[in-house]
Symmetry: C2
DNA sequence: CTAAAAATATACCGATTGGTATATTGTGAT
DNA sequence: ATCACAATATACCAATCGGTATATTTTTAG
């Protein structure tokens, strides 16, 4: 890894939580130079513009979460266990997520209007991918008779994602993990109710 | 209503959807003067600063939703019906809410970091009030034996709010009402399951 | 109708915004 | 060690930011 690549990575890692907590408009180049102790020249030598850095920071924030899920899912066959990975993951990392500014999907989806199509497209793709993953796990579970045939995978995924995102929002805003835990409890109940 | 009061109200109503969709930082005084066709002098003659206007706009956005709920709840005694008011309300006004920039609670809670304590305090209060209302309706239902005694009002309110907020987020971001409707369906099921 | 007061417009302020051209420094292969 | 080039720093740009002092217009009370 060359010097420039290391610097680029350093900038991304340093500014990712800033973008996540202050938003795209709310994060200034001064914020970035202050946090990295670098100068504008260095920032713009490594990134075309603020937009490219914001996109890289979003990708980084997202990848960290995705890695957390994927690494816990390795080798799991039982769809119930795969769904519970999310429940355990968010119960475990909630404090860390809040410290890093909250859920990047929730933040970016709310922060971005159509005036920032690059970030908006990214957050839409992330949401679709997440939805499709949960949906496909449930579909698999139905097909293999882990789950009852009346189960609607798409609706289940809607409820699943919303309870997690809504729980993070409530718990972060009200500074109380209990709200998220209530939702994770409901998810556990939902899973047990569709099991054969 | 004096001229100034009318102007003040006009400014609030005109800028409320702008603040809601672009956020506090993202909304500039130029945005405000452009939308109202007024000048800075007029804006600052009616509001101490941008913060005061943002707070008034948030209050206005919130009040519109609250009025929608309250007006549909008038005279209702059955707690089941009171809870269903929310379900029907969000099914009805979803498009309007999206057009106005989304749910102000969701947007403002995400937009505000601790750097804007005035707005942050407002959104927290709104969230606490909403939570308490749902919780108290369920508590009343349990006490009057509409709902089973095993029902946990606090947890129910957590799930309830999260499903609505999460559904609005998903449906707005993915531009498909279906996600919200899935959640409203689950809320209906949750209500029927706690009924005696 | 008039005069005082309130509301709005104009013109400006310093600070900060994102971005760039250029100078300086640091790196790495020979 | 040197030299070419990559990487970083410095200094600057026009535009915009939130905000204000003052001039002008409009409203309102007598």
């Amino acid at each position: 890894m060359t010097k420039a690549e290391r610097t680029r990575q350093f900038i991304i890692e340093t500014t990712a939580p800033i973008f996540n907590s202050k938003g795209y408009e709310g994060t200034s180049i001064s914020d970035i130079t202050a946090a990295t102790k670098l100068t504008k020249g260095s920032i713009y030598g490594n990134f075309k513009d603020k937009n490219e850095l914001a996109a890289a920071a979003f990708d980084y924030n997202l990848e960290k979460i995705r890695n957390g899920i994927v690494s816990r899912s390795l080798g799991l066959k039982d769809p119930t266990e795969q769904l519970l990975v999310y429940v355990d993951f968010y119960a475990d990392v909630f404090e860390k997520v809040v410290f890093a500014g909250g859920c990047p999907i929730l933040n970016t989806a709310t922060d971005c209007d159509d005036s920032n199509p690059m970030l908006y497209q990214r957050v839409r793709s992330a949401l679709v991918e997440w939805h499709r993953h949960v949906e496909s796990v449930v579909e698999y579970g139905v097909k293999k008779s882990f789950f009852t045939s009346e189960t609607n995978p798409g609706e289940f995924a809607d409820n699943f994602l919303s309870l997690i995102e809504g729980g993070v929002l409530l718990s972060k805003t009200l500074n109380n993990k209990r709200h998220l835990m209530s939702n994770l409890n409901l998810i556990r109940k939902m899973i047990s109710e569709i099991r054969n």
